[in-house]
Subunit: 372 residues, 2 copies
């Protein structure tokens, strides 16, 4: 399958409804594909039916049907933070000529504490939710294990944050666009769950992203696409510093594309928390296990490095509107491949990888995308 058009709203804390954001992103994708909604054969929507953001809506596909006045095959594929990637994966497999994929989330609402509780419903009910093990706390435990096992430091985490903020500074669609964040800001930010500081955590925003996938040959091809789901509690893994769903999805996506990790020119990975970006380097095969921190120390994944990661600013600094995130990664990759990224434009942009995770490694999708 190929990608024909992409669209996304600016990510940020501006108060907007899921409906209007989804409409804006979908319209931009249609425009970009030079298509009308009548050319679309099916729609896959990703959205969490969040109660506490004030929207209380379980049938997001019907909202899209209302906006566009369409009656089509339309389903919803939510997977919390990994919903966008899961929807994209599903859309690729449905067999239709042209599928609109939309992810949208109103996450930065008036009552953030209650929205956090809504999202915590993605954690294990008994061992995590009841114990107050919110996602920053879960990921802090993972980070501690990586530090113990491989000598990774909080300075490494800070360098990930800095890199992604530097990239977001150049991305007009990023929440932190044009906002300077220094290493000192990061290192002095308040501790959320030790060793994670505020600037180690992704940015809660409102936003939507959309794309059109098609059987027609276009300039961007999906060469590999895989999704795996694992059990919930991260601490039940024998090795807390690796996420099997992610490793398996990467392996399969590489195999489908007939490439290996070393063939990837750039990547958008799931940096919900800075240590997770380091773990992803390893799980995706960009380096050996335990050597992720070396990549950030040596600047390999910076904009001018050998393998730039999260040129968009990532979940960290572009923002992480849950179900929209996975599709916004596709947006960045397509824009890079078309040389439309202005000051953050890459030169080596032939083959990219997108990785999106739901829960603490509970479900992961990996897509290998190539200039066709």
């Amino acid at each position: 399958m190929y990608i024909k058009g992409v669209g996304m709203t600016k990510f940020g804390v501006e108060d907007r409804t899921t409906q209007e954001m989804a409409y804006e992103a979908a319209l931009e994708a249609l425009d970009d594909a030079d298509m009308s909604i009548d050319d679309v054969n099916a729609v896959v929507v990703s959205n969490e039916d969040t109660r506490n953001n004030g929207e209380r809506q379980r049938l997001a596909p019907s909202i899209i049907a209302s906006i566009f006045k369409i009656k089509l095959p339309m389903i919803r594929v939510p997977a919390v933070c990994g919903g966008g990637g899961a929807a994209f994966w599903t859309a690729l497999k449905l067999g239709y000529d042209n599928v609109l994929v939309v992810g949208a989330e109103r996450l930065a609402a008036t009552n953030t504490v209650r929205v956090t509780d809504d999202i915590l419903m993605a954690a294990d009910r008994v061992w995590e939710q009841s114990e107050g093990l919110i996602f920053p706390a879960q990921n802090a435990l993972v980070a501690q294990q990586h530090m113990l096992k491989y000598g990774t430091t909080t300075d490494d985490f800070a360098m990930v944050a800095l890199k992604n903020h530097e990239n977001a500074y150049l991305n007009p669609k990023a929440g932190f666009y044009g906002k300077k964040v220094t290493l000192e800001d990061i290192k002095k930010s308040p501790v959320v769950a030790s060793p994670l500081r505020l600037f180690d955590c992704s940015y809660n925003v409102n936003g939507a992203a959309a794309c059109i996938i098609t059987k027609d040959r276009t300039d961007v091809k999906v060469a590999g696409s895989a999704l795996f789901t694992d059990r919930l509690p991260a601490f039940e893994n024998k090795d807390m510093t690796t996420w099997d769903a992610s490793v398996k999805a990467a392996d399969m996506a590489y195999t489908q594309a007939g490439v290996s990790a070393k063939d990837i020119d750039f990547a958008e990975v799931h940096d919900a928390f800075t240590p997770v970006e380091i773990i992803n380097y390893e799980d995706l095969g960009f380096c050996r296990k335990g050597e992720g921190a070396k990549m950030i120390r040596e600047g390999v994944t910076k904009l001018d490095g050998r393998l730039p990661v999260n040129t968009s600013g990532g979940l960290k600094a572009k923002g992480h509107p849950i179900s929209a995130t996975g599709i916004s990664q596709i947006y960045e990759i397509v824009k890079q491949m078309r040389n439309e990224c202005g000051e953050r434009q890459l030169k080596n942009n032939r083959r990219a990888l997108a990785q999106n995770i739901g829960g603490a490694g509970a479900t992961a999708s990996v897509h290998v995308i190539e200039r066709a």
Copy 2:
């Protein structure tokens, strides 16, 4: 695609968790298919992430992954009351050799009022939820229109309830199995939302259903499968007495199967409320528009009629555990085709139709299933 195995729990108000019910249904389906979980290539789960049933779980696929100790491609496709059918439709399209489809819901929980509110999140936020237009009230408005336009009476509705209770009486998996319900019980039951009485409403239960679909030739074939999604507010339709998503899905499923409504031997349709069964007769082409009531009056859809409908007892009397319902329809059809239905066994059982609706006509799937 073919159906290889089916399983379901007894539907009822017994207090059980989604997890254990999903496990029981999936194990039964695997057993029935003479397969092990290792033969499964992908899993599609349908479940509403209900907060107020005490479970608070957004990542149902990971729960299934835990139970079976598997790491597979697994997604969730919820569509409230239509989730089971939507998951089945999606699973057919994913392209895997063997897919396990599971729908499970803990709906009859300790706090039914709050669970009702959870499900109401499938209605339009402004025009329906805020106005207190819960699903019985929405369907009451639809029923009133059908009465006005076509002279359908509350006696007709009662006859639908009676038929489905008579069928459930014979179905050991039905919530109302072995429980006699008389026409007097139905007609004297309290009014919920005029003209709907308690016995015109489907039965809130806990339950799960599962099936294995496969590319291998088996004794039961899915000849047609279609899903359409429409906008939310039922009262925005020009004609409130017909649901376009349902009509379109039926048309496409018939076309795929190369048959028409008259070729259907028996059907499981979405009788969330008794008038909806009558509307479905019409929308599915079993009779002309406005003549649905005639079918129930003449006994056409009874167990010994020309076109038996809801031999399982339907949502009405077997019970309606939201995401499980659509898959439980497949269960009944397969069991009828295998002549395993005891006292409610049909003789003409070559070709059947399953119809599952989410919201008040917001999304609908129709499957045409044949003995192969």
